[in-house]
């Protein structure tokens, strides 16, 4: 009893002494597991980590590490984000749907609405907290603030080019939990309003960002100007060419821009491009290190110090890496058995590369009489073409990491029959002989044999020759370039051409072309709309431009018209902006075996539609602006539906 009393007494005494602390402070203990806003926004290094997360969550439809699909949460691998639009064939059995569907759903290419507005809210919060910070230096604050605005504008750009005008939220919306959310329901802004926002933001922040060409993975003055230039060009072409598809518009202007605004936007685009070209943002230049022009073009994507790169998504060993090389390396020299060869550029794209005399011609497989043309060397058929062809596409005669690849489809025999195998690299005896010899390349092409080329080509752009980059465990650190100087030149050329300044346009476009070995300059008279469309397609192939370019020129429904592509279609009208291209063709090399013929052992080629291709791409008017879901409209009835959906 006494003992108990003592304990109670001690307990009371202890409680009494603690009781001196105020009750309200009792639970007020600073957490040790996370940092508060005040702590973060007092140290520039911590602010940078917040910003790094915002950079990392920018959306790209085409990228090397792929993207998170809207809503489902599945990851779209990087290679597949480039494997559509008949520019390539997907050599992976699970991805054959890309060439077996007859068009795209209206929801294709949309952004996840919730993810987008959560992101924009967090950028807005970042801006508010940065501007309220008291312990950061004025220079740091200003630069962080400008970077946040750049990321927000670039994100709105991604939204507007996929979905047209969207609600423009630049402040932090807060729900008051009183049961009425109507104050948070913002209608869609006009499409032009979003473009105007991007242009004015870029203009406002450009001088707060460093003019430093080595600043490539963070926003720089060059990046802001490049974004402004591209946005103004998009707005201009939607205004001008939108007039050709009057049904792709909404009466409130959420989709479609008035044609009278075209010239103003083209002028803005040209001015922004000129600011970069004249060097006010730093000494950006085309990548040109001499030597082989195709290697130079390919190295532009591998060399992170390239003066051509303006803004890129960077990757780093030990941090963020991607599997582009794992998925797309040639099968015969793969670092990783069972992973290779998925992205096969199509003949449609390959033959679009010009001859060195600036003319278009299909790859010659037959002479005037319809007889096959025999080539002594495998690469001869590709000779005398735009150097970007071999820089973008790994041709059957090409090498990777110093090793040749092995693409050929079999022997053509004297009676014109084919000797081949459905197993890559298989051996069989030729007629009249008994010793089995290899009858088909290790890299294919064999119909339906995945991970080898089925079109006769592999991708070269972005393919990383670093040792081990083709291993799953290591991955590649090649950067994805979002804005580069050559695109700025082509933007300038297009804007100048549309403004009636063809000589100026020729000056810009010829710089890009001479770097690719097309040294005969185009004259002002030769600059046409088709030329500009063509130049962007070959220069910027697999860089995420084709869909958005075809949309803004309102060419998409003509190029992807749903009619199957025949050989006749394929070889005709090369260089025409409206040439239809709905199915990815291949070009299969064969060896000729006829000991009695002088052509024995030479190569011949056949245009071949891979047998898995059964659909043909049809782009509907309703595809021009991706679906805004019924769930979004149900939650906010002020949002109007997209046209033609």
């Amino acid at each position: 009893m006494k003992k108990q009393l003592t304990i109670v007494t001690i307990a009371i005494l202890l409680a009494g002494s603690w009781g001196c602390k105020k009750d309200s402070d009792f639970l007020n203990i600073a957490p040790t597991t996370f940092l508060t806003n005040d702590q973060v926004f007092s140290d520039p290094n911590l602010v940078l980590t917040v910003l790094a997360d915002l950079y990392n969550r920018q959306e790209d439809l085409t990228s090397l590490d792929g993207y998170l699909q809207p809503y489902s949460g599945n990851t779209e691998p990087g290679w597949r984000s480039m494997a559509d639009f008949s520019e390539s064939f997907p050599s992976e059995n699970g991805s054959s749907y890309l060439v077996q569907r007859t068009g795209w759903g209206y929801d294709t290419w949309r952004l996840d609405w919730t993810r987008a507005y959560v992101y924009l809210r967090e950028v807005n919060l970042f801006l508010q907290r940065d501007s309220a910070a008291t312990l950061l230096s004025a220079d740091d604050k200003k630069r962080f603030y400008a970077e946040g605005r750049f990321l927000r504008a670039n994100y709105y750009f991604e939204m507007v080019r996929r979905m047209g005008g969207v609600p423009l939220i630049t402040s932090i919306l807060t729900y008051d939990y009183k049961g009425d959310a109507s104050g948070l329901q913002v209608p869609r802004a006009k499409e032009s309003t979003i473009y105007d926002f991007i242009i004015s933001e870029a203009e406002a922040i450009k001088n707060d960002l460093p003019s430093d060409i080595n600043m490539k993975s963070r926003a720089s003055k060059g990046a802001a100007l490049a974004m402004k230039c591209r946005a103004a060009l998009y707005a201009a072409s939607i205004a001008k060419y939108g007039a050709t598809t009057p049904s792709v518009a909404l009466p409130g202007g959420e989709v479609g821009i008035d044609a009278s605004k075209a010239n103003g936007y083209y002028t803005t685009a040209l001015a922004a491009a000129n600011e970069i070209i004249t060097g006010t943002a730093g000494a950006y230049a085309l990548y040109n290190t001499g030597g082989n022009l195709s290697d130079n073009f390919s190295n532009l994507f591998l060399d992170k110090a390239s003066p051509e790169t303006i803004f890129m998504e960077d990757f780093k060993t030990g941090g963020k890496v991607h599997n582009f090389t794992v998925n797309d390396q040639p099968y015969s020299i793969s670092d990783e058995g069972g992973d290779a060869g998925r992205l096969n550029p199509s003949l449609n794209l390959v033959e679009a590369f010009e001859k060195l005399d600036n003319t278009y011609a299909p790859l010659a497989t037959k002479d005037g009489g319809g007889n096959p043309i025999y080539y002594t060397n495998l690469g001869d058929i590709f000779a005398g073409r735009d150097a970007r062809l071999a820089g973008t596409v790994l041709l059957p005669s090409g090498t990777f990491k110093g090793k040749g690849i092995d693409i050929w489809a079999g022997y053509v025999l004297a009676d014109n029959s084919i000797l081949t195998s459905d197993e890559a690299g298989h051996t069989k005896a030729l007629p009249g002989t008994t010793t089995p010899v290899q009858v088909v390349g290790i890299d294919g092409p064999v119909n339906g044999l995945e991970l080898r080329s089925q079109s006769g080509f592999y991708i070269r752009k972005y393919l990383d020759p670093t040792t081990g980059s083709g291993r799953r465990g290591q991955g590649s650190t090649v950067a994805f370039i979002r804005y580069r100087f050559a695109e700025v030149l082509l933007n300038a050329a297009e804007a100048a051409f549309e403004l009636g300044q063809a000589p100026v346009a020729a000056g810009f476009i010829n710089q890009v072309r001479s770097r690719a070995g097309l040294t005969t300059p185009l004259t002002a008279g030769e600059i046409t709309f088709d030329r500009i469309v063509h130049e962007r397609r070959v220069e910027l192939a697999f860089e995420g431009h084709i869909l958005f370019d075809m949309k803004r020129w309102r060419l998409a429904h003509k190029v992807w018209d749903g009619a199957p592509t025949t050989v006749t279609d394929l070889v005709a009208n090369i260089g025409s902006s409206t040439k239809h291209s709905t199915q990815p063709w291949g070009l299969w090399p064969y060896k000729y075996y006829n000991p009695a013929s002088p052509d024995n052992g030479k190569w011949l080629f056949r245009e071949t539609l891979p047998s898995l291709v059964s659909g043909s791409n049809r782009f509907l008017f309703g595809n021009y602006y991706s679906l805004i879901g019924d769930d979004v409209i149900a939650a906010n009835p002020k949002i109007v539906r997209q046209p033609n959906q």
């Binding site: 009466p251 008017f621 409209i633």
Partner: protein
């Protein structure tokens, strides 16, 4: 504990779901009572039900013969065709939104949707001769006012099965709108390719494409034997 389990098991035996919808709503898209022929699965219509919290439509599309059908719960619905869809003009409100066809559904019901097509294909005559399908027809222009559209091309499609359109065909012939001499008598013919496996008939339809309109107007499906 075991009593609880028994109670849970017994109550789980009771069905707690609703009966499936059973009222059939069907009909055609028509002009003066005549069904308008379309490409299958290309022209959508949207059915909205009144009185529910969410406002999303029940998506549908017209079949090749212009018909549609849906199995629904009894209730009040509205039907629209979205702007810019179909080779016809759907009634619009003054604000430019698609106007509504109201349907009060109680049991099965047939509702034909009256629209104004830009053109109609009249008196199509299709027959096979000499390894070809030959067609003659006339086109009648229905919409004459400011909304009128010109003809981009007319096409003759043939296919082995009953789905015949720009997207489903074995062979086709196009004639550009500018090359039409007499809209009251347009001839078209298409060579029948080798059919594998062989069959002695094809299905044929004539399609009419308008400038600036995505969907084609078709003639009724016809089986052509040879």
């Amino acid at each position: 504990m075991s009593i609880l389990a028994i109670i849970a098991a017994a109550s789980a035996c009771k069905k707690d779901n609703y009966a499936a919808p059973s009222s059939i709503l069907n009909g055609h898209v028509v002009y003066k009572g005549e069904a308008i022929q379309l490409e299958r699965n290309q022209v959508p219509l949207q059915i909205y039900q009144y009185g529910l919290g969410k406002v999303g439509p029940i998506g549908q599309s017209f079949a090749q013969d212009g018909s549609y059908s849906a199995i629904l719960f009894d209730g009040d619905y509205k039907i629209i065709v979205p702007n810019g869809q179909g080779p016809f003009l759907w009634q619009q409100t003054a604000a430019g939104n698609p106007d509504t066809v109201n349907v009060s559904l109680k049991g099965n019901k047939t509702v034909d949707l009256e629209v104004m097509p830009y053109y109609m294909i009249r008196t199509p005559q299709l027959a096979a001769a000499g390894g070809k399908v030959n067609a003659t027809f006339k086109v009648e222009k229905i919409i004459m006012d400011a909304n009128a559209k010109n003809i981009e091309r007319v096409s003759l499609y043939i296919n082995k099965d009953q789905f015949v359109s720009g997207g489903d065909n074995l062979a086709k012939t196009d004639l550009a709108g500018g090359a039409i001499v007499d809209p009251n008598n347009i001839p078209l013919s298409v060579t029948i390719p080798t059919l594998v496996p062989a069959q002695n008939y094809v299905y044929a339809r004539i399609g009419l494409k308008l400038v600036g309109v995505e969907d084609l107007i078709y003639s009724p499906l016809q089986k052509v034997s040879f």
